[in-house]
């Protein structure tokens, strides 16, 4: 498999040039090395790493995952090694292999986000920040930052002040008005938005009359959510001028191309990595092949071409 070199897959997002529009979705690709045997990370648009927090986190008790029709629920609980271990133990490998690295960050207060952004600012090998705002705001009774336009703005503005890095805000789909959320963070300094994070869901073990996840509720991902993701990406792309990165249920190059037609600059591939560890690279190949077949010179000719 070789990427067709006569088509231009490069995309510009937040002032950065990405090799191609295919990124990994945070939390589904570890810190990259987990896919050492499956994927050449330097061939991807970017590796978006598992969300990192200021301090290491142990995550939730098990069970943490359960399968659902054409999807899965997870309640990993944001287990991660913490920003320091990430910088010292995980980042160097990615840099050495030539990966473009986007660091996904998470916090429970506005200040935690700001501290993380400051710590990552200016670090060589970090291309951009992606801010996961689907975390509970402990100062506001645990309501997720990403479900309130004011809280989402506050996080965005704080991270913006703390770092010169290109800033992608990752939106939660568990909201009434995704366009309002996208506009709020765009106005507060986001360079791009990525969406969707997981839909809040639940599964029950009837025999035991217990939730199937120890955390009771979890995040729904996979093909099941693709129609919701596509709708929200399309809506967001109409609402803001900054680039939109599409996420949700992407399994194939066709899926990815649909998001691009709907207005996305790039896409992220999540759950598909579990089912087919080579998915991301196959999707890069598939997109290149599609463009070549359609006689298109650049991926940018396809973006936002939906006829409505």
């Amino acid at each position: 498999m070789t990427v067709e070199t006569d088509v231009d897959l490069q995309v510009e997002i937040a002032g950065c040039t990405f090799r191609n529009p295919v990124m990994t979705a945070s939390g589904t690709f570890g810190y990259g090395r987990e896919f050492e045997d499956f994927v050449n990370v330097s061939r991807l648009g970017a590796v978006v790493v598992k969300g990192v927090s200021l301090l290491p986190r142990a995550g939730n008790p098990p069970p943490r995952v359960v399968e659902t029709p054409c999807g899965m629920l997870n309640a990993i609980g944001l287990e991660n090694v913490g920003v320091e271990a990430f910088l010292h133990e995980k980042l160097p490998w990615l840099v050495e292999l030539g990966a473009t690295v986007v660091v996904n960050i998470l916090g429970n207060t506005v200040d935690e986000y700001a501290q993380l952004a400051r710590r990552l600012d200016g670090i060589e090998g970090v291309t951009a920040l992606e801010v996961n705002i689907s975390c509970p705001n402990v100062k506001e009774g645990g309501v997720a930052f990403g479900t309130d336009p004011l809280m989402a703005s506050a996080v965005t503005a704080a991270v913006r002040r703390a770092s010169k890095l290109p800033l992608i805000i990752k939106l939660s789909p568990n909201v009434t008005d995704i366009q309002l959320m996208a506009r709020s963070v765009a106005e507060s300094g986001a360079d791009a938005v990525s969406l969707i994070n997981t839909l809040l869901g639940m599964a029950i073990d009837l025999a035991g009359r217990r939730p199937r996840l120890a955390n009771v509720v979890g995040g729904l991902s996979g093909p099941a959510i693709k129609p919701v993701a596509l709708r929200m990406v399309w809506q967001a792309a109409q609402a803001v001028k900054i680039p939109v990165i599409g996420i949700g249920g992407i399994m194939t190059a066709e899926d990815a191309l649909e998001f691009i037609v709907a207005g996305a600059h790039a896409v992220q591939v999540g759950t598909a990595n579990f089912v087919n560890p080579g998915a991301t690279e196959e999707i890069v190949e598939g997109i290149a092949a599609y463009l070549a077949k359609q006689g298109l010179k650049s991926i940018n000719q396809l973006r936002n071409t939906l006829i409505t």
Binding site: G27, G30, D37, P62, I76
Partner: protein, 266 residues
């Protein structure tokens, strides 16, 4: 070094009630696989069920064949059971850390204990022990719901000159009761030091771990959890470690085989 493959089904046999033995042409896995390691399998097209399913290596063969032995439970195993010879299937492996055969304590007898589908990896383990540790004595205890679930396996053990002791829930073969009870019944009196390798349902492994702890025997267990990926990408397969609270292992990477003492059995 797991590789990602599309492999081919060579044979699919039905052994007893809803138990299948799948022979797969997967040379790299056959060459590298160790007892206690596992593969992730996925049958066919369509998005439901979505995720691959983990199965222990039941055997590896020369000429690039591997076998898995599995019970049909839900849609995933039902689709695998329906595979015919020559059909493709998705496979990733070999994965995880298998049984640790380095340096058993001198003079110890090695004891394999399997219950339910936990019997699956034990044949491969027994074969490797005979090959790599011929100087150690080897005993096998197997448990099942009923006789039929064990018949094929007992035949398989024949050529290894091992005669497993057996317990069945319904008393249709061997001891009428649970396999951990065989520890007292079969090994209780000889006073020998043992090193135990165990695979089966959680309560059975907990009971075995407890008995080993009491006797100061080392005990390796092969754990099962829900797995979305099998190769440490999802962090879904957490299991609580003993000792400190809030310390989780990941079964697909740190295991599936653990020292029983490292696991929180509550």
């Amino acid at each position: 070094m797991p590789g990602q493959f599309l492999a081919t089904v060579e044979k699919n046999e039905s052994l007893g009630p809803a138990i299948c033995r799948l022979t797969i042409l997967a040379p790299e896995i056959a060459a590298a696989g160790q007892p206690g390691q596992f593969v992730m399998l996925r049958s066919g097209r369509g998005l439901d069920p979505l995720l691959s399913r983990p199965f222990s290596l039941h055997q590896t063969f020369p000429h690039g064949r591997i076998q898995v032995l599995f019970k049909v439970l839900g849609e995933g195993t039902r689709k695998l059971a329906a595979l015919g010879a020559g059909e493709p299937l998705g496979i990733v492996g070999p994965l995880g850390r298998g049984f640790d055969l380095a340096a058993p304590r001198a003079g110890a007898r090695l004891g394999l204990i399997g219950g339910g589908m936990g019997v699956a990896p034990l044949f491969f383990l027994a074969r490797e022990i005979q090959r790599r540790l011929p100087e150690f004595g080897l005993d096998v205890l197997l448990g099942a719901r009923a006789k039929q679930e064990l018949e094929q396996l007992l035949i398989d053990f024949g050529p290894l000159k091992i005669e497993p002791r057996v317990a069945t829930d319904d008393g249709s073969l061997g001891h009428h009761g649970l396999v951990p009870e065989l520890i007292e019944k079969e090994w209780g009196k000889d006073g020998k030091l043992r090193q135990v390798f165990c695979c089966g349902p959680w309560p059975m492994m907990a009971a075995v771990a407890q008995r080993c702890r009491e006797r100061d025997w080392s005990c390796q267990v092969s754990l099962e959890t829900m797995m979305a990926c099998g190769f440490s990408a999802c962090l879904g397969c957490a299991v609580a470690g003993s000792g400190q609270r809030e310390r989780y292992f990941h079964v697909c990477k740190d295991g599936p085989v653990f020292n029983a003492a490292d696991i929180s059995w509550e």
